[in-house]
Symmetry: C2
Subunit: 383 residues, 2 copies
């Protein structure tokens, strides 16, 4: 078995108006990841991205000067599937289908097609986006990810006595991290709990503006290859101990109202069971956790599903400082999708690599294992 690892990472700047095409952004991020690894486009023989990325592999092959892809895949489930790109790349490399696989995500999500508005674009009908059920939500006024997620959030908050004020702790922690990360859009801009409570309601009484991730323009890419190949490259490899996707029975994508218990994060539980079984690790073995934070409450759901605390205990766990830099499980030291940028989860994967290399803006000490979870996919990266 050729153990797969991440040998290179790259990105563009994160902004609100990139001023250039998503194709240009993708090429910049990929070239940057290859430079980081010490590889050339002609070394690339596999690519993977989201079903809803607007760039075609054929265009990237032409634009970058790739000679031939032997593997090309797309991961469904929007940002929930972001860590799935790691799983696909790992599978391609370990099965010998390809040797150097690039994963990318490029989007002008703020300046072109905003997810946070009720504007339904052509993307709404893209296969694999899991948006077929939008038709069942829109007639009832549930028209954005905030409303869809808000319905589940309200059930959780009612059951466990959680308030929007509790959620502020997550936002404040992530903005504190972003404040000292020069790559973050909110670099130098920490917030207080009062700032959070004064921000406007997006879905009352669940999410305020500062509970929501950013809308961002930018691109992120990473390079997966074998451990053997990585030994000759420029960087300390981040080993992929395991990666998995999870699509349990009755799960939906974002509009996830159909399973029995709306407070139970089924995909997270399945991912946790799979990763812990395959790696022999448990929650106590991670020094950093990169947990998908499209909305503050998603951090609670991940903390509980992966066993960092019990069901319904996440608000207390966070309030006690456990996700801070000196807490039990430091959360997204880049600032996450709320503080750094919303490149659909992919910037949390590159941050995991930086933590392992020791090159992050806010490095955690002695990082051995990082958990990355994006809802419907998750992975363990190790030094």
């Amino acid at each position: 078995m050729a153990d797969a690892c991440i040998a290179g990472i790259g990105q563009t700047e994160f902004s609100k108006n990139s001023g250039r095409s998503e194709l240009t952004l993708a090429c910049e991020a990929i070239q940057s990841a290859l430079d980081d690894a010490g590889l050339a486009p002609s070394d690339v023989d596999g690519m993977t991205t989201f079903t809803i990325d607007n760039n075609e592999d054929v265009d990237l092959v032409r634009s970058l000067g790739i000679e031939n892809l032997r593997f090309s895949s797309r991961v469904p489930h929007g940002g929930g599937g972001s860590t799935g790109t790691l799983a696909h790349a790992m599978a391609a490399v370990e099965s010998g289908l390809a040797n150097v696989v690039v994963a990318w995500r490029a989007m002008n999500e703020r300046s072109e097609a905003r997810f946070g508005t009720a504007h339904m674009t052509a993307n709404s009908n893209v296969r694999g986006a899991g948006t077929g059920f939008i038709e069942w939500s829109v007639p009832f006024g549930a028209v954005t990810p905030a409303t869809w997620t808000g319905i589940q959030a309200q059930r959780y908050m009612a059951r466990y006595g959680v308030t929007n004020e509790d959620l502020a702790d997550v936002s404040v922690a992530l903005r504190a991290a972003a404040a000292s990360n020069p790559r973050a859009w909110f670099y130098g801009k920490p917030i207080t709990k009062a700032d959070h409570q004064e921000s406007r309601w997006i879905v009352e009484p669940v999410f305020r503006l500062l509970d929501c991730c950013q809308e961002s323009d930018g691109a992120v890419a990473f390079v997966v290859t074998t451990a053997e190949r990585a030994r000759d490259l420029k960087q300390i490899p981040a080993r992929i101990l395991h990666a998995t996707q999870s699509v349990p029975f009755e799960t939906e994508v974002v509009t996830n109202f159909y399973h029995q218990d709306l407070t139970s994060f089924e995909s997270g539980k399945k991912s946790a069971a799979e990763l812990y079984d395959r790696t022999g690790l448990g929650p106590e073995d991670f020094q950093v956790a990169m947990l998908y934070d499209h909305f503050t409450i998603a951090v609670y759901w991940h903390l509980e599903a992966f066993g960092f605390c019990g069901l319904g205990e996440a608000a207390d766990f966070v309030r006690e400082g456990n996700i801070g830099p000196n807490g039990k499980i430091p959360l997204s030291p880049n600032g996450g999708l709320i503080g750094e940028a919303y490149i659909h989860g992919m910037n949390n994967i590159t941050e995991a690599v930086r933590q392992i290399r020791g090159t992050a803006a806010n490095p955690v000490d002695a990082v051995q294992n990082v958990l990355v979870s994006s809802g419907m996919s998750a992975a363990v990266l190790s030094r």
Copy 2:
């Protein structure tokens, strides 16, 4: 390494008007493939299909009663990527991401969204379909796959002195095979060369109606698992010796006008080199070839790219009877996409399995190795 194999195949009837949804068709084909293998939906932990399949994995998980997917992927490139589903499933199984992967394709391509008409549906903008370049073709009157492929065909025919009358040999051979295959839409309906020459022009002077594959409603599925798991199942497994995709520099999907030499089938050549290198086999080692026949001329291009004959020699090679049941390389004994049905290439994969099991309607003697190629992906299946 857990050698992957196909342990089950399934399908619906092939028709021009299925009378039911594509979701129903997909479920029927998948359930049929699982029954064939002796597996239950609860055994399935991976799925893969085309980017442009209209069914979501979450809907199939719910409808079939799957408990949890650990792998879910989509293959770009339309029918050209059909054998890529085999590559993805193989990668998932051999890397240990999943143990039982179902590949499916379901479409009401005749009764709902016909590819052969100039009607541009929402699908035209689906990511991964490679159709971004349609915008450069449509303004010049190139509005269907027949016109796009016709442009390349005309260059090939001019260079090698091939006429539409030559192409009739391919069509007649495939319809002869379909005529004795009860699953084929054209069962009992062979054609003569004169029938071909009397059929109407679709793209003059290149393709007549009988040079074009069918437009079909239906679904096909197959199940990939490890050799170890397959030993306990119901069928003789078809081993996947290797599978690959191919996206060479300057290649496009269908509208493939940008590479240097329009008569050179770059994807096929790359696939052939990869498969022959990885398996140690050559053209003389196959007893059956399932070659993507969306248009008759594509068979020529495959025969040359995979080395069954030299460049420009395919018309003579076919005229001499080499693709018939007793020829050097029997072609698609199911009748292919022209004679059996156009389930976007997937029915050629299930036929390869039947040839290996010895259960095909038109069985070839002593089949050891079958080549399956669909343009931008290819595989070797073996007994």
